[in-house]
Symmetry: C2
Subunit: 332 residues, 2 copies
């Protein structure tokens, strides 16, 4: 695929122009641009500019409020809700994280529910933000029904990503962010765009038969990673990110969504735990004895390592040229 | 394999006689017997009488205190520790669960750390106990290093089971309890005993080569379920059940264990969340709309369903005859 090199500053200017000209106020624009920049910076292409046409579609359809002002509330000392005010999730998360971190650092554990928001990005920014405050972070979201539970052949679950971050003071956190689907839908879409085949076990076609054609999987359904066990994790995500926080299950999101190309309304479940309060002194050094052994094993790569390495580069980022043209055309 | 039918009462009498004659006091005996009975009742054979020789070995070696008196403490309103006093975990869990449930029901979320205990059983009894109190439960434990992280060929991780339970008032909870290994070690041991082959992908031999021979996997190492993603979940379990609660990683448990055939010392991480406080009214009915759709899909079976069905039977349970003889020989 032809690509065009853009500096992070150029990506920032482009994304800013797109969001402003499509009705976002300054606070929402800043939060969204940061999300896009951080994804491109880290090489997480399926969550960067690739998502911008979807964001814009939902602004233009009127589904998402580009001027949303999320409100943070405490239900208890350890239960926090953020009403997203019908906007995209990044500003809601940005406002909520300090309150969640404060609660977890005081009480030892806290949960934050993001409600009435539209999530279309990676989850690692929020779990990393907790880890940077020396907290353990766990986050998950539903989506729309694009995946069958293991054993079946009917769409019910979202790709249902889960992100976990462990703080490593003085080091990058240990962090992962992974679809509980065998492959993230964005990556399946990129494979379809680029004419690539999928590995076996990623999905089924619309008739429920196994296929390696990404276009057929998009029309059909994804499979969970790891069979019945991965399916159980994906179901836990539905329960935590929907039923536990009074937001929409993936199947409900489909029923209420406009299908404008952007994200469906949904919630996000975020858990924060203080190892200072739970384990007491010495937890970080103790954890490092484990990471040392983990990293010493041939063939083992820590998740997030590639992103953290990409992050350090100041070089221009390659952007799919066709995508770039589509994003530029969204200005004005 | 030849089996002998025993009523649950006979299993109870047998287990009681074994624990009492090997130095357990009444409270510990009751807690252990309940664990064994419930496993046999539910058809979870790898956690029932199958574990008794291991329990006894650790009592006889003096590693585990059969008269332990676990102590429950609050570090904060939402952080509870139970010092297991060097005994088996069931009594520590029995004493801690009411405090954990009370904390979660008041604050909305709480974590309990079981410390200085020897865990050798399933995790669903504790998560189900939370679900019966209308709480969401999540529990995990490390073990000894019997599994390699994905991509490697060196033992570092335990089988690292995780259990999740969702309360369904008026119904059995949705509950699963699964090794993050491709197969639980107890099941591999039973396959070796019964001369069965494993499915591909369960483990590697001592030289790091794939094998389907359970005896070779026991000498070698297990693999995580679901490749890199399952491995990431297994690593999260190490961090939560060891570093986060100041207890032993699997590799540390190996260094300190007597290898007497019983469990190594370790901790258990248990999280409880109140959907009443987090979601508010209507959460249970909302969740049922999801379970209805899940159960309606052909080929999908809810985890825990088989156990809950087995539980209803008052019929005698088939016990491996060779195992029965070995357990009977432990009395006196």
């Amino acid at each position: 695929m032809p690509t065009t090199d853009l500096s992070l500053e150029q990506i920032e200017q482009l994304a800013t122009a797109v969001f402003v000209s499509n009705g976002c106020d300054e606070r929402n624009t800043q939060a969204l641009v940061k999300t896009v920049i951080n994804a491109e910076r880290d090489g997480s292409h399926s969550h960067g500019l690739f998502r911008v046409p979807g964001y814009v579609a939902s602004l233009r359809s009127g589904k998402v409020n580009g001027k949303a002002s999320p409100v943070v509330k405490h239900k208890t000392a350890a239960i926090i809700t953020v009403d997203g005010d019908g906007g995209f999730a990044p500003l809601a998360i940005e406002r909520g994280i300090p309150a969640l971190a404060e609660a977890a650092s005081t009480v030892g554990v806290a949960v934050m529910a993001i409600e009435r928001a539209y999530h279309f990005a990676a989850l690692w920014p929020e779990t990393e933000a907790l880890a940077e405050r020396n907290l353990i972070g766990l986050a998950c979201v539903c989506y729309k029904p694009v995946m069958t539970p293991a054993g079946g052949n009917k769409r019910l679950l979202g790709t249902n990503p889960i992100s976990f971050a462990w703080p490593r003071p003085g080091n990058n956190p240990f962090v992962y962010d992974m679809a509980t689907a065998a492959m993230a839908l964005g990556d399946v879409e990129i494979a379809a765009r680029d004419g690539k085949q999928l590995a076996p076990g990623v999905g089924l076609d619309a008739s429920g038969q196994a296929t390696t054609d990404p276009a057929e999987v998009i029309k059909g359904m994804l499979l969970p990673f790891g069979g019945y066990k991965g399916s159980a994790i994906a179901i836990m995500v539905e329960l935590l990110a929907a039923a536990a926080i009074n937001e929409q299950f993936s199947f409900e999101a489909a029923d209420t969504d406009l299908d404008d190309g952007g994200p469906a309304r949904g919630g996000e479940f975020i858990l924060a735990i203080s190892p200072d309060l739970l384990a007491g002194d010495g937890w970080a050094e103790h954890a490092e004895t484990f990471f040392e052994r983990l990293e010493a094993i041939d063939g083992v790569r820590l998740p997030g390592e590639r992103r953290h390495k990409n992050r350090l580069s100041t070089a221009p980022r390659p952007v799919n040229s066709e995508l770039l043209a589509r994003v530029e055309a969204l200005i004005g």
